[in-house]
């Protein structure tokens, strides 16, 4: 079996902040009635974290749950566990109305870290990136410049950003452009 190769093979840029492609990561799209205990159990069973509320992300280590929409949850897990995760969900939800599928290869993931991480993202997204507008625990689907993306915070100075795999280079390039050394805004 060949090794999985992420879109940018772990590209790194250090400027105003550090931008790092995070390498393969397991992701499962689970669609269903998020109010249903069964669906919640299926998701938390794979991720091992509490089920998030609207607009939230619960992440711990390489596992987590991100609230995508009222009927969609994104399950994060180690890359090689995604297949088993889907199987586990399928087993639990068999016979009910749901969809679970492995999307680990459909996306790219970046870690943006540093004191100015908020500002770097605020150069690219119309979302409110101030501490009052966005904080650890929140999850935001939005756009970064011209492509859809989503992000959440590991801590006050570290963001995880996901986008589609095909635009990984574009997102890396706009993040690094926004992180041009000396271009800090000093706003937040």
């Amino acid at each position: 079996m060949s090794e999985p190769v992420s879109a940018l093979q772990g590209a790194i840029f250090e400027g105003l902040v550090k931008v790092e492609e995070a390498g393969p990561c397991g992701m499962i799209t689970l669609r269903g009635d998020l109010a249903s205990t069964q669906v919640k159990t299926a998701a938390t069973g794979v991720a091992g974290v509490d089920f998030p509320g609207q607009g939230e992300a619960n992440c711990a280590g390489d596992k987590g749950l991100c609230w995508m929409s009222p009927d969609e949850i994104l399950v994060l897990c180690p890359y090689d566990q995604a297949g088993a995760g889907v199987a586990a969900i399928d087993k639990l939800l068999a016979g009910t109305h749901y969809l679970a599928t492995n999307v680990s290869d459909a996306r790219a993931r970046f870690v943006v870290s540093g004191l100015d991480a908020r500002e770097v993202l605020a150069k690219l997204t119309p979302a409110d990136m101030s501490p009052a507008g966005f904080a650890p625990g929140r999850f935001r689907r939005t756009r970064l410049a011209q492509v859809p993306a989503a992000f959440w915070m590991r801590d006050e100075h570290m963001f995880e950003v996901i986008c589609f795999r095909s635009v990984a280079q574009y997102v890396f390039d706009i993040l690094t452009a926004a992180a041009t050394p000396g271009s800090e805004v000093g706003f937040f």
Partner: protein
């Protein structure tokens, strides 16, 4: 540059995160319907100066379609609501009546 509140994910979305979807509450006319009903469905659109009901999709966001009631003159937003309805909720209609007494739009008033 509008901001519309997405009733599904709770985000106050920037217009650049949304995609417009034209007039709300169209009634589909399928096979077997008379020509005038189909013409109404496919071609006739409201073009009001004032109260208007529209469809929007939170495209760079949760991906959900929703409805917005707004004033095309002042851009005042009377409210947004989920797409799974065939007419505007009473609460929205009441709010519009409070601000634009005597309004009417299509079959609604």
């Amino acid at each position: 540059m509008l901001i519309l509140h997405c009733p599904y994910c709770g985000v106050d979305a920037d217009e650049t995160e949304l995609s417009p979807g034209g007039e709300a509450h169209l009634k589909r006319a399928g096979p077997g319907t008379p020509d005038d009903a189909f013409e109404r469905y496919l071609f006739h659109r409201e073009n009001p100066k004032g109260v208007h009901f529209e469809r929007w999709r939170h495209a760079s966001g949760c991906g959900k379609w929703f409805h917005a009631a707004r004033c095309t003159v002042t851009m005042e937003v009377f409210g947004t609501y989920p797409a799974q309805v065939t007419e505007p909720p009473q609460e929205i209609c009441d709010r519009i009546t409070g601000k634009r007494p005597g309004w009417s739009w299509g079959a609604f008033s």
